[in-house]
């Protein structure tokens, strides 16, 4: 026999203990693998979703200060890894004539042939324009004008005459829209310069990226090569929104993954601690017989590695099996296209390698404890001595709290990026767990007071078991603390943010019907004035329509940051569609009426400007310097928006398009308006959306978010409940001698069951209460951390339904988790238990 076979004998003698420990590792590894895989799949899903919003990923190069320029100063960029093409672009509002119709449209000047070849511009018919009198039009425009290939359009030139342009190609609307930020026609860049008088000038260079390229890496590489006067930015509109969405999703997924890893760590650490604690006597005896502390440590490390490998193997397989349904659930929730999990065999290999390493690391502290075990105490059949709260623990808690608060302050003040909130969130959770042993005795005593007096013996014994080992109990409850604080924190934060967006929708888009350019709501920034101003009169003339409010949307930049310019009027005596920050509605209305510039809070945050500061704003080749007169809460294009009256937009930038119409009707006429409005929408190639449609869309989005939240919560609770069940099982194993003695002196099986269940419930409720407090702190944390992203604080509401549902779930889980260990406790053989070695 050698020391390894001694280990094997120990396992064979107590297979339950070895299995429970391996099961803990399996649960922990399974949870991490499942979360990791589904988070990876979600990232991929979000990436594809972003791609479908954005089209082909790209970045823009523009001057920092001026608008249009001659394109000089741009070095060679095509050799940067991830860059597929470098395309000069120029945009010009143009007037087209088709038969008797005059259409305002944004024309894009590019080398169309090159773009088609690169796959950036998709043609559904025909070929790219190559000659000065050739033009490519979007499918939507072609349909609305009833034009097809080889038909002609008249293009009003700068000199006043019309040039006849032959339609050589019809482009996929979305592809053209992504390329041109909403433009409807493509003309050769030289020809557009000649027609509009901007020859030799361009608005931007657009870098088309390869799908696998990292936008951040390319941005950094490009900015490094550019001269001071130029910079590379994420394009406004769809790309900007997709970029922000991807960042926000990654932040959330990082947080969830990190929390799962933390939870897994607690499960494995606790299992190892209990595994070792149960064998204190055996280790003491081995030390009396001459085993050195090093030999005991080595033996335990080998054991941890072996159990870790077995557990990790099962956990990896379980995690992979679980990841599929979780990923599908999230895919449905976010409605991402082609959402599939990537089953990477290396994950199993990594898990099997990392599992033992984690188990060995988790065994480090218990092993130290085992090696230091008091030989006398263990040989005398004494229970382990009560734990004292050490100064080390208090110091650890203080350090964790300081770390969390320090990072939070740095994130809120902008010293650190919002992504740094992830480690801060984890530090907060760990700080709560480290604080648990300090508050647990008080909490457990308080809860034990609610145990009915007829069960006072069971309650008192259960309380004694908990109070005797507050540090270990804190580890046990740590799993639940993480699960509950995760649930309550994310539950509050997500619901609060959703409510903030809902409040914005309710204010900004108050209408019975909406006519929009094609594209999702909130992304409707295509500058496609195809409808022309006449559409307002056309819709107003429909019977039952009470008010029609036109909105113009254009792409521009402010202070070098891509933004969306929204031009809309603020009719008197109507609720203001914007939420002012730091001023009254009347003051804001006056500012807009007087032509003032109003910035969304997210844009202001990015530009680091406040009301009264001056910014440079560019759109359609015009650049102005203006004061930001006010700030408003806004979510258009992720909040990177500038508002002004339509009159001001027309005067300053020449924006007089109608990109969206908000239509209000009398209640009686609302339903009957669908048919005439659909006819208008069809004529002008617009999208008709009713208030009910809008609400249904919003509801779907919210349900998706809430569904994803519940999936994450569910996973947390499943892992948490398995952790609690395992811990209570090991508790019973460890206390079999005590339980045997209690039964020997007359405790009934039912009393033993109650003792185990009460102990489990006290553990669960203590963990849950601490978790709820941690969750509320986390929610506050998340709100503060998201402030730099949103630019405005999201008010935090206390949500009893989230707290109560978490509390109910924790009680149910701990009660169920106690059932198996309680049965086991009842079935313990009295003699065996009393003589337990």
């Amino acid at each position: 026999m050698n020391r390894l076979s001694l280990l094997l004998r120990q396992w064979r003698n107590r297979p339950g203990r070895a299995i429970a420990t391996a099961a803990s590792v399996a649960v922990a590894v399974g949870a991490v693998v499942a979360t990791w895989l589904s988070a990876d799949a979600s990232r991929e899903g979000y990436r594809r979703l972003a791609e479908s919003i954005e089209g082909v990923p790209s970045i823009d190069i523009t001057p920092r200060e001026t608008g249009r320029w001659d394109g000089s100063g741009v070095p060679k960029l095509i050799d940067i890894p991830g860059v597929r093409a470098v395309v000069p672009l120029v945009y010009k509002p143009a007037l087209l004539r088709s038969d008797e119709r005059r259409i305002r449209e944004v024309a894009v000047g590019v080398d169309a042939g090159g773009l088609v070849d690169a796959g950036f511009l998709k043609l559904v018919e025909g070929r790219a324009c190559e000659e000065p009198d050739e033009i490519v039009v979007s499918r939507t425009l072609a349909d609305s004008l009833d034009k097809s290939l080889d038909d002609t359009l008249l293009f009003l030139s700068r000199r006043g005459g019309y040039r006849t342009m032959k339609i050589t190609g019809i482009a996929d609307t979305q592809s053209l829209s992504a390329l041109s930020d909403g433009g409807g026609v493509v003309v050769d860049i030289e020809a557009l310069g000649e027609l509009t008088g901007v020859r030799g000038l361009i608005d931007r260079f657009r870098l088309v990226l390869r799908p696998e390229a990292s936008r951040q890496a390319v941005l950094a590489a490009v900015n490094e090569r550019l001269p001071e006067k130029l910079h590379a930015i994420v394009p406004a509109g769809r790309a900007s929104m997709a970029h922000d969405m991807l960042n926000a999703a990654n932040l959330g997924l990082d947080f969830v993954t990190a929390l799962t890893v933390a939870m897994a760590w607690f499960i494995v650490g606790n299992a190892m601690l209990m595994n070792v604690t149960e064998r204190r006597r055996a280790f003491a005896l081995q030390r009396v017989l001459g085993a050195t502390t090093r030999q005991i440590s080595r033996m335990l490390f080998w054991e941890a590695a072996a159990i870790g490998a077995v557990g990790a193997g099962f956990g990896a397989v379980g995690g992979i099996l679980a990841a599929g349904p979780i990923a599908k659930g999230i895919a449905r929730a976010i409605r991402a296209p082609d959402f599939a999990i990537a089953y990477n065999p290396w994950i199993v290999v990594a898990a099997v390698l990392i599992g033992p390493a984690v188990a060995v690391l988790a065994a480090w502290w218990p092993t130290r404890q085992a090696a230091k075990v008091d030989l006398l105490e263990s040989l005398a059949h004494m229970a382990p001595p009560p734990e004292n709260i050490s100064w080390k623990l208090v110091t650890t808690a203080a350090v964790l709290w300081s770390l969390a608060v320090g990072i939070l302050v740095a994130v809120v003040t902008g010293v650190l990026p919002p992504r740094s909130a992830v480690p801060a969130g984890i530090a907060t959770t760990l700080a709560f767990i480290a604080t648990t042993p300090v508050v647990l005795p008080l909490l457990a005593r308080l809860l034990a007071g609610f145990v009915p007096s007829k069960w006072r013996i069971e309650g008192a014994l259960a309380l004694e078991q908990i109070l005797r080992q507050p540090v270990r109990t804190a580890l046990t409850t740590g799993v639940l603390v993480v699960a509950v604080s995760n649930g309550v924190g994310l539950g509050h934060a997500i619901r609060d943010n959703v409510d903030d967006v809902l409040a914005w929708y309710a204010k900004a888009l108050k209408a019975d019907w909406m006519l929009l350019q094609a594209g999702a709501l909130g992304v409707s920034r295509e500058t496609s004035p195809s409808a022309g101003s006449g559409i307002v009169e056309e819709v107003s003339a429909i019977e039952g329509v009470e008010t029609v409010q036109p909105i113009s949307i254009a792409i521009g930049s402010a202070g070098g940051v891509a933004c969306v310019i929204v031009a809309r009027d603020m009719p008197p005596n109507e609720q203001l569609p914007l939420e002012a920050v730091g001023m009254s509605d009347d003051e804001l209305r006056t500012i807009v009426d007087e032509g003032g510039l109003v910035a969304g809070t997210a844009l202001a945050q990015r530009l680091k400007v406040k009301a009264g500061d001056e910014v440079t704003v560019s759109a359609f080749g015009r650049t102005i310097r203006a004061n930001v007169a006010a700030l408003v809460v806004d979510y258009t294009a992720g909040g990177t928006s500038l508002f002004m009256s339509r009159e001001a937009a027309r005067r300053i930038f020449g924006i007089d398009s109608v990109d969206a119409l908000l239509i209000e009707s009398s209640p009686a006429a609302a339903a009957g308006l669908r048919e005439p409005l659909e006819a208008v929408a069809k004529r002008h190639g617009l999208l008709l959306q009713s208030h009910a449609d809008l609400h249904a869309t919003i509801d779907r989005i919210i349900n998706g978010i809430v569904g994803a939240l519940w999936s994450i919560l569910g996973l947390g609770f499943i892992v948490g409940s398995l952790g609690v069940a395992n811990t209570v099982t090991m508790n019973v194993l460890e206390k079999r001698r005590t339980l045997g003695l209690l039964r020997a002196v007359g405790m009934t099986a039912r009393q033993v069951t109650r003792l185990v269940v009460i102990e489990s419930l006290l553990l669960g409720l203590s963990g849950c209460i601490i978790g709820i407090l941690g969750g509320i702190a986390s929610a506050w944390f998340i709100q503060l951390s998201s402030q730099p992203l949103l630019g405005h604080p999201v008010s935090m509401s206390f949500r009893p339904e989230v707290i109560l549902s978490n509390l109910a779930a924790a009680i149910a889980i701990t009660a169920i988790a106690a059932w198996l260990p309680a049965r086991r406790a009842v079935r313990l053989d009295l003699l065996d238990s009393i003589a337990a070695e």
Partner: protein
């Protein structure tokens, strides 16, 4: 530290096998009101090779604590224990484990055999920790088992052995490393009269036939009567130290030991 141990064992001759000076042991917060309890107070003791010493006293008198300090299971609060000239207080935990493994054999009241191992494996355990080859472990363990008359039961697990057999197995384990001293803590406390007699005879034979030093703690006067020297402990102090058959009291023995130091 290991080198220190080896060096000390080479620096023979040593007159007393075990020499304890001013041994005191106080347990923190062991009192009913959480106050410290002094279990052993200023004990001086010398034990020669080949002696069979019985330490007796009432329950709680401190006799087991003295034994534990002699065996390096617990460290004295003050005073020191010299085993074969090596001051145990100067050894770190691992060096002390080495001393226990090679120079001391322990026998406990509750046998303390590991339930997952067979008798043979239990007996071989100290050699396993010493890194001795499996075949050599097996051979030495079998010899020890044979010496206590349990050869036919060598492959049995402890739960298949009677109390007396388990205690004899524990004696075999204590002997397997050929220790300098065997320390037995109430070795007959859990046994019936017949088995108790067998165990005591076995220990007596070890002393007589092999010259093995044995120190046993017991509260049973019949068991203690088998020893050649009786030390009575009262309230943590040595009340008397008597060579069996002599009328000499504690001071006589003590002064004799002091003289040969």
């Amino acid at each position: 530290m290991m080198a220190l141990v080896s060096e000390a064992w080479r620096l023979q001759p040593i007159v007393s096998l075990i020499l304890a000076e001013h041994l005191t042991k106080t347990f923190d917060a062991a009192g009913h009101d959480g106050s410290p309890v002094t279990a052993v107070r200023d004990v001086d003791l010398a034990i020669d090779a080949g002696e069979f010493v019985a330490i007796t006293g009432a329950s709680g008198s401190g006799k087991s604590t003295i034994l534990h300090m002699l065996g390096g299971i617990t460290r004295p609060t003050s005073g020191r224990v010299m085993l074969e000239g090596v001051d145990l207080a100067k050894l770190d935990d691992d060096a002390l484990a080495l001393v226990r493994r090679r120079r001391i054999g322990f026998i406990f009241q509750r046998y303390n055999l590991l339930p997952e191992l067979s008798l043979l494996e239990n007996v071989a355990l100290p050699l396993v920790f010493d890194g001795v080859k499996e075949s050599a472990c097996h051979k030495a363990a079998m010899e020890a088992i044979e010496s206590v008359g349990l050869a036919p039961r060598a492959s049995h697990r402890p739960d298949a052995l009677s109390g007396g057999e388990q205690q004899r197995g524990a004696i075999a384990r204590a002997l397997v490393t050929r220790p300098a001293v065997v320390l037995a803590d109430e070795p007959t406390g859990a046994l019936d009269t017949v088995n108790s007699r067998h165990v005591i005879e076995l220990l007596s034979c070890l002393v007589k036939d092999r010259g093995q030093t044995v120190v046993l703690v017991t509260h049973d006067q019949t068991t203690a009567a088998a020893a050649g020297r009786l030390i009575r402990v009262v309230d943590g102090r040595i009340a008397s130290d008597t060579l069996v058959g002599d009328a000499d009291d504690h001071s006589v023995v003590s002064s004799a030991r002091t003289a040969v130091r």
